[in-house]
């Protein structure tokens, strides 16, 4: 780290300290923790904080990436580079059943696809690793049902979440007591907002997937979303035209389900000032949130992050 790095402002410093505290607490209390790594900006921040928390030691748990097979190519390339640069222990898992049956967002629709390739795949991977704690990068400001999440979120042996029956969580004292088979999802970024994430990426100089920065890219418009059109598996429908536009992504998921925004923000400063005047939320570009009212809560109950 360079000597000239400006100190964190008190807001970010408090958020950073809280996250480090949570990382250390989980690592000390659980036998087999794992960190969900989705390659997005929140995951990048999460990984950076994990490295800080255990310095000068190594991160004492593996990273888990649920690969749906439909991620942006740049995300996979970025992931592989980060794993080798930081010498990380990464487990990548794809649902074998979904792969065999050729489940895709085009053939099965976003809801069935997400359920099989993300939620079911995650459950498989967590069971296979016998993980008793899983870190996630979810933030409470992202979505209404996440506003009710605990920092230690208790899960039944089949990974279910019961929002009506959560353990009370007072002060910063976390209850990590579970029975065999049960688990806890831990959310060190609970109290971060989207702007906090970007400010932190800027001041800490954290590498992120280039898709977050604006550039001319091929897109098609579908169901009101701008879809990146560089993967051969994306078949154009009648009336759809591929064109090059200057776009970027506010969040990154699976490319057919993640909408781009028109933007000229090529720097972090530009992204932050764009955010401060934004009139739509970041999950606006996520098709899965729009399937039905309360759809995130439903997915979370079934084990989605």
């Amino acid at each position: 780290m360079s000597e000239t790095k400006p100190p964190l402002d008190p807001n970010l410093k408090a958020l950073e300290s809280e996250a480090i505290h949570i990382f250390r607490e989980v690592a000390a209390e659980f036998e087999r923790p794992v960190m969900l790594y989705s390659v997005g900006k929140d995951s990048s921040v999460l990984l950076h904080l994990a490295r800080k928390a255990f310095y000068p030691g190594k991160i004492p748990f593996p990273l888990l990436h649920v690969d749906t097979g439909w991620k942006f190519k740049e995300m996979i390339a970025f992931r592989d580079r980060v794993v080798s640069d930081y010498d990380l222990d990464l487990v990548s898992h794809t649902n074998p059943r979904g792969k065999l049956e050729g489940v895709s967002p085009f053939s099965h629709g976003s809801s069935v696809y997400t359920n099989i390739m993300k939620t079911e795949a995650l459950r498989q991977a967590l069971d296979a690793g016998q993980y008793d704690a899983a870190f996630g990068g979810a933030r409470r400001d992202e979505e209404a049902s996440r506003a009710k999440e605990r920092i230690y979120s208790f899960r039944t042996p089949d990974h279910g979440w019961d929002p009506r029956n959560q353990r009370p969580e007072l002060w910063s004292i976390y209850n990590g007591m579970i029975r065999k088979g049960e688990s806890v999802r831990a959310f060190p970024l609970s109290n971060w907002t989207e702007v906090d994430i970007w400010r932190y990426i800027q001041v800490e100089d954290i590498p992120i997937v280039p898709l977050y920065f604006a550039a001319p890219r091929p897109v098609v418009e579908r169901d009101g979303m701008l879809i990146l059109a560089e993967d051969k598996r994306l078949e154009l429908q009648p009336g759809e035209v591929k064109r090059v536009e200057t776009i970027r992504f506010r969040t990154l998921g699976c490319f057919p389900l993640t909408g781009a925004i028109h933007s000229t923000a090529t720097t972090l400063d530009a992204i932050i000032s764009e955010l401060e005047t934004a009139t739509v939320s970041e999950r606006q570009g996520r098709a899965i949130d729009r399937d039905e009212a309360g759809s995130m809560e439903k997915k979370k109950r079934e084990g989605y992050f």
Partner: protein, 496 residues
């Protein structure tokens, strides 16, 4: 290597200056607050208004509400704020709020975290949870009804959880025609209530959350007689509790031994400050050492203060494990096998004297026996003798441990004075607690030779005295007989 460093070079000087200004503006930790009041007082409208006027609600979130078939816009064409806030399907269906939710908004000057807790169902449990981390409480009343019994309950719980800053939001002031006299009356009544609880930092604000008057934007045009701050102005200037002025406290979370040459203790400073060279004591063992180094990822630091997550290296090989506390040698916490505490019962079964619990405080977890002594009647503010604490009850308890425990009084340090109780049968969190003092020894010579005072009091005065908190804490050391005045005089004369 970094994707971003190349980009950083492209930042123009203009942008750099602008960013510097923005950073300076937010030169504070997020302020944490809790809002207390019922649906009828317009609590959801108030929080919705805060989020709306600070632009924390985005268009697509408002649009999603518009697609909801239960949704109706209010008369101002704004979204139904209660629907916006109720995140869970069950809540939207039943129109109630069932749990604590956290909301985030920011102004140019500060970031805020609001604990949004329900006014009705199990409000004690949820309020205690939300208040445990809050710096300030906003108590909401309807201008038409004024201070209610519920306001007293909320203020009492907030005070108990350590909140010392109150804002009274006198809402729906438009419905009483901006009546200044009525507002002054409510404010004065509240001031008395707050003072009786020991809270002196009180701001009362007349407002209409629905119309957006004195929440974020000034309501001066509607009520020229009020020249005080808006709610957001008060929140921007509110103070934050800090544990920096007390003795150094460092609960050890984990021991880091990446190689033979390095042994560091990882944790978050829970009180005071530390620098290399300081003499410290490791508790409960009592081993003494000096601080050699404060390590963080960014640099080796020359000091750390409360709230900092660090790795501490000592100058000699000592036995330190998770759950131990490293503290300043000249201002160490209380060490003992028994403590007095206040407790909020959070679970259906309540707290029973015949059961052993797990107690977790900071990183330390140990077995404890809990004997309830008294219970607070939230209606009257009086403490009554009780040997159990049902769900949502607040009481005083005696804690006894098999192994040494260490605490500070909650009043002095919220981090090292707070604990939770875990039921070993269900693993659920069943209580939140706040340490008052280390229990005084009452057995042996100490007990027999303790000085006692015999008082003879009129019955009402004695009843008042026995309802006080101070009395509740020493209930076990008091003997009481009820007599008529003639008999009491006779006994006292006999003693003389």
């Amino acid at each position: 290597m970094s994707v971003n460093s190349a980009i950083a070079e492209r930042i123009s000087t203009d942008v750099e200056t602008e960013a510097a200004v923005r950073t300076a503006d937010r030169n504070a930790r997020p302020l944490r607050l809790i809002t207390c009041g019922s649906v009828d007082d317009g609590k959801s409208t108030l929080i919705g208004r805060l989020l709306w006027d600070t632009k924390a609600v985005k268009d697509d979130q408002a649009d999603a509400l518009a697609r909801d078939d239960r949704h109706s816009q209010n008369e101002l064409g704004l979204p139904d704020f209660a629907l916006l806030l109720d995140g869970l399907q069950a809540e939207r269906e039943q129109g109630i709020t069932i749990d604590v939710a956290y909301r985030y908004f920011a102004t140019d000057r500060r970031s805020f975290i609001v604990a949004d807790t329900p006014g009705h169902e199990q409000y004690t449990r949820n309020m205690a949870t939300g208040a445990s981390t809050a710096d300030l409480a906003v108590l909401l009343v309807d201008a038409r009804t004024g201070i209610l019994e519920q306001t007293r309950r909320h203020a009492t719980i907030a005070t108990l959880m350590g909140i010392r800053q109150f804002v009274l939001a006198v809402n729906k002031i438009d419905l009483i025609d901006y009546d200044q006299q009525r507002f002054d009356h409510i404010a004065a009544e509240f001031r008395q209530l707050a003072l009786s609880l020991g809270v002196t930092d009180i701001k009362a604000i007349p407002m209409s959350a629905l119309l957006g008057e004195n929440v974020v934007v000034s309501g001066r045009s509607a009520m020229p007689w009020y020249d005080g701050p808006t709610l957001v102005n008060v929140l921007e200037l509110a103070t934050q509790r800090t544990a920096q002025a007390v003795g150094f406290r460092f609960p050890v979370q984990r021991v880091s031994r990446p190689n033979e040459g390095f042994r560091g203790y990882q944790g978050t400073v829970a009180g005071g400050s530390v620098k290399p060279g300081d003499s410290v004591v490791v508790l409960p063992s009592g081993t003494v050492a000096n601080v050699k180094q404060i390590v963080t990822y960014d640099l080796v630091r020359n000091a750390a203060v409360a709230g900092d997550a660090i790795t501490l290296v000592l100058d000699r090989p000592v036995d330190v494990a998770r759950g131990d506390m490293i503290a300043s040698i000249d201002a160490a916490p209380a060490l003992g096998l028994a403590f007095e505490a206040k407790l909020v019962a959070l679970n259906g079964e309540g707290i029973r004297a015949d059961k052993r619990y797990w107690l977790k405080s900071s990183s330390r977890r140990q077995r404890v026996r809990v004997e309830p002594r008294s219970m607070l009647d939230l209606k009257t503010g009086q403490w009554k003798s009780s040997d159990n604490l049902p769900l949502n009850a607040i009481g005083t308890v005696h804690l006894s441990f098999d192994e040494l425990a260490m605490f500070d009084p909650y009043e002095t340090n919220r981090n090292t004075g707070a604990f939770i109780l875990i039921d070993p049968d269900t693993n659920n969190t069943v209580a939140g607690g706040m340490i008052q003092t280390r229990a005084k020894s009452v057995d042996g010579i100490d007990g027999a030779e303790r000085n006692q005072v015999l008082l003879s009091l009129p019955q009402d005065l004695a009843n008042q005295l026995m309802a006080s908190e101070a009395f509740a804490a020493i209930r076990d050391h008091v003997e009481i007989r009820r007599l008529n005045s003639a008999r009491a005089s006779a006994i006292l004369e006999e003693l003389d």
